[in-house]
């Protein structure tokens, strides 16, 4: 018994170390005085100061956050519609096509997605004059194409595990479909929407390949700027920025976690009450 618990503990420690040591070292080295990433030159916060002066990186970070937020919101709306159609509308004509199309970006290499979107934009511009040039709009659209696939899958699986008797009951009581959707379905799948939103946000924030293809002047996202800087060796102000992002993400994940746990608990309680009432 004792042995297995030491074993378990060491696996746990090793697993966590594997996951978190790279992030920790990134944060530690953001306080490095030396410019060389691998040489420790003493404690300093100078790179955080330097970062505040670096308009290029800050602009890119702000742009990336904006694109990620717009993208996540759009992807959640479209993805929910698609997920709803796939989970609730039975076997309609073109269902297989729809499910195939929405999940295709999940398995497609990003290079191909990026290239095909670029060609689409080029052809559309030649034919309709829209989008006029590539920029923030095209990057956002491209990211939405990719991330709505994730949202669709999440929403669809959530809906299919859901007991549809609640919706049927509401229908029996004379509620219109739109009312059912907003009053019954939406609150129940809210946790799925939130995780879908966060996932889309992260994927967009993270994406380099697709953005590189479809961006234009003035739309260099943060990963693009970082990647182009890495060529000259990683500079520590990027470490500083990454540390700040890690901090923000940690706060975000913890908040979302608490919220989702509460939701889940309430749902469990409601279900128990419903069962007891029967």
């Amino acid at each position: 018994m004792k042995q297995s618990s030491t074993f378990r503990l060491s696996v746990l420690v090793f697993g966590f170390a594997f996951l978190y040591i790279p992030i920790l070292s990134l944060i530690v080295y953001s306080f490095n005085k030396s410019r060389l990433v691998t040489v420790w030159g003493g404690f300093s916060t100078q790179w955080y100061g330097r970062l505040l002066d670096n308009d290029q990186i800050l602009d890119a970070a702000w742009l990336s956050l904006k694109i990620a937020a717009i993208n996540a919101t759009g992807a959640v709306i479209l993805g929910t519609l698609a997920g709803l159609a796939l989970a609730r509308f039975g076997k309609f004509r073109g269902r297989t096509l729809l499910s195939g199309m929405t999940t295709a970006p999940l398995v497609m290499p990003e290079v191909i997605t990026g290239l095909s979107l670029l060609m689409l934009f080029v052809v559309m511009e030649a034919m309709f004059g829209w989008p006029a040039g590539r920029g923030v709009t095209t990057v956002t659209i491209a990211h939405m194409t990719l991330t709505l696939a994730y949202v669709t899958v999440i929403v669809q699986s959530r809906l299919s595990t859901l007991d549809d008797s609640l919706e049927e009951a509401a229908m029996d009581l004379g509620a219109r479909p739109s009312k059912i959707f907003f009053v019954i379905t939406l609150p129940i799948i809210a946790p799925a929407l939130i995780s879908g939103w966060l996932l889309s946000f992260t994927i967009s924030l993270d994406d380099l390949v697709i953005a590189s293809f479809v961006s234009g002047p003035g739309s260099s996202t943060l990963p693009m700027v970082i990647f182009s800087k890495v060529r000259m060796g990683v500079s520590p102000d990027i470490n500083a920025l990454a540390s700040i992002i890690v901090l923000l993400v940690t706060i975000g994940v913890i908040t979302a976690g608490i919220f989702l746990a509460r939701q889940e608990k309430r749902r469990q309680r409601d279900m128990q009450m419903a069962a007891a009432a029967k």
Binding site: S34, R35, G41, M119, V122, P217, R231, G233
Partner: protein
């Protein structure tokens, strides 16, 4: 700078370029037609610049904006392949781009760039005629482009470690890298080679005494065979990691680009760990490359673009950029304004004797490109 991405991304971009070139063909006429009325109307005070990252003095853009009232959007790239993909897709939205001359050569043939209106760039009078002549091999009559900065491909090394191995003998010959017996001495302290197949093959051919720009199968294969023999002694094949690795002492000999190695030297100094890095141009001669300012044919603000190129060729502005990035410019009038330590550094401004042995890296044709890719694949995987 023929910096390159890793090979899989490069392959992806190559496919993209071909596909886009096909797509772009149909549109070319259209673009030319629409150009005329645009030029007549007054231009918005906007300019979109696409340059290498960390390749301009920090205040150049700000000063240009203050002087002209033109608002500059400045984006950066880190490989010629990325730039090429954007250019060939057409309507990239950029007004000034900075490809390397060997890429520019190909792109001119694809009709990507417009001819410069030299009356709008009076500062062209300051250009160094020798460099102009060399660049004309890529861009006939210098019609489409102006040299922004230039540099060489040479050897960067850790001064103390190399001294321990070679004694008082200088590290100044390709023979010390490409001869298996010679390079073996550096094996334990670390050797790296650029992941730039065309450049490496060309310097090997130069060392072998053949035409460096040969596109013949037999020459390329012969060069690759020589490379294969030194493969066991090479620790890394990469186009940027060597900057930091030289600076922190992990590598002791690197084939690299002049400005990058001088950057490694400065970083090593800054770190204060006692590492000294130096750059040497091998006596057999090496590649000289140029990064060129050019205006895409479908640029929306060609007038502003000309003004920007003209501004960059102001002698003082050119000197400031050179001082900042450690690459030489082609502006003869700026020479007196360049800091002494940059001006007198033979790694940045080579002596006339060395200059005489520099050769350009001309663009390969399709077949040679394919051969090169195949040979390089074999070299990098070490089989």
């Amino acid at each position: 700078m023929s910096r390159a991405l890793n090979s899989s991304v490069r392959a992806g971009l190559a496919v993209a370029s071909i596909a886009l070139a096909v797509a772009a063909c149909g549109k070319k006429e259209e673009a030319q037609q629409s150009q005329a009325p645009g030029a007549a109307a007054a231009e918005e005070k906007i300019l979109h610049v696409y340059n290498w990252s960390d390749y301009i003095a920090e205040d150049t853009i700000k000063n240009f904006e203050a002087q002209t009232g033109i608002k500059v959007t400045y984006d950066v790239f880190d490989s010629n392949d990325m730039l090429e993909t954007r250019l060939l897709a057409g309507n990239s939205g950029f007004d000034v781009v900075v490809p390397s001359a060997s890429f520019l050569e190909r792109q001119i043939k694809a009709g990507v760039f417009q001819k410069l209106d030299k009356s709008q760039i009076p500062n062209l009078q300051h250009m160094d005629p020798d460099i102009q002549q060399r660049v004309a091999l890529h861009d006939p009559n210098n019609e489409h482009s102006v040299t922004y900065l230039w540099g060489t491909t040479g050897i960067g090394y850790n001064v103390d470690k190399v001294k321990k191995i070679l004694g008082d003998k200088p590290l100044d010959s390709w023979n010390q890298i490409f001869d298996p017996k010679e390079i073996a001495r550096f094996k334990d302290c670390g050797v790296s080679v650029l992941d730039a197949p065309d450049e490496i093959l060309k310097v090997v051919l130069q060392w072998m005494g053949r035409d460096p720009n040969s596109q013949k199968d037999e020459d390329l294969t012969a060069a690759a065979e020589k490379l294969q023999q030194i493969r066991p002694y090479i620790r890394k094949i990469h186009s940027s990691q060597y900057i930091d690795d030289l600076a922190n002492g992990e590598l002791c000999v690197s084939i690299g680009w002049s400005g990058d190695i001088l950057q490694a030297r400065d970083r090593a100094e800054e770190a204060g760990q006692g590492v000294k890095v130096a750059y040497s141009i091998p006596k057999e001669g090496t590649i000289v490359w140029f990064d060129m300012l050019a205006i895409p044919a479908d640029a929306k603000h060609p007038k502003n673009a000309h003004a920007f190129i003209n501004y960059l060729m102001e002698p003082q502005v050119a000197a400031n950029n050179t001082n900042f990035v450690n690459y030489a410019n082609a502006n003869a009038a700026s020479f007196g304004m360049v800091n002494d330590e940059v001006k007198n550094d033979p790694g940045v401004y080579p002596t006339p004797e060395v200059k005489a042995k520099l050769f350009p890296s001309l663009a390969y044709n399709e077949q040679a490109t394919a051969t090169m890719a195949r040979l390089w694949q074999k070299f990098t995987t070490g089989q």
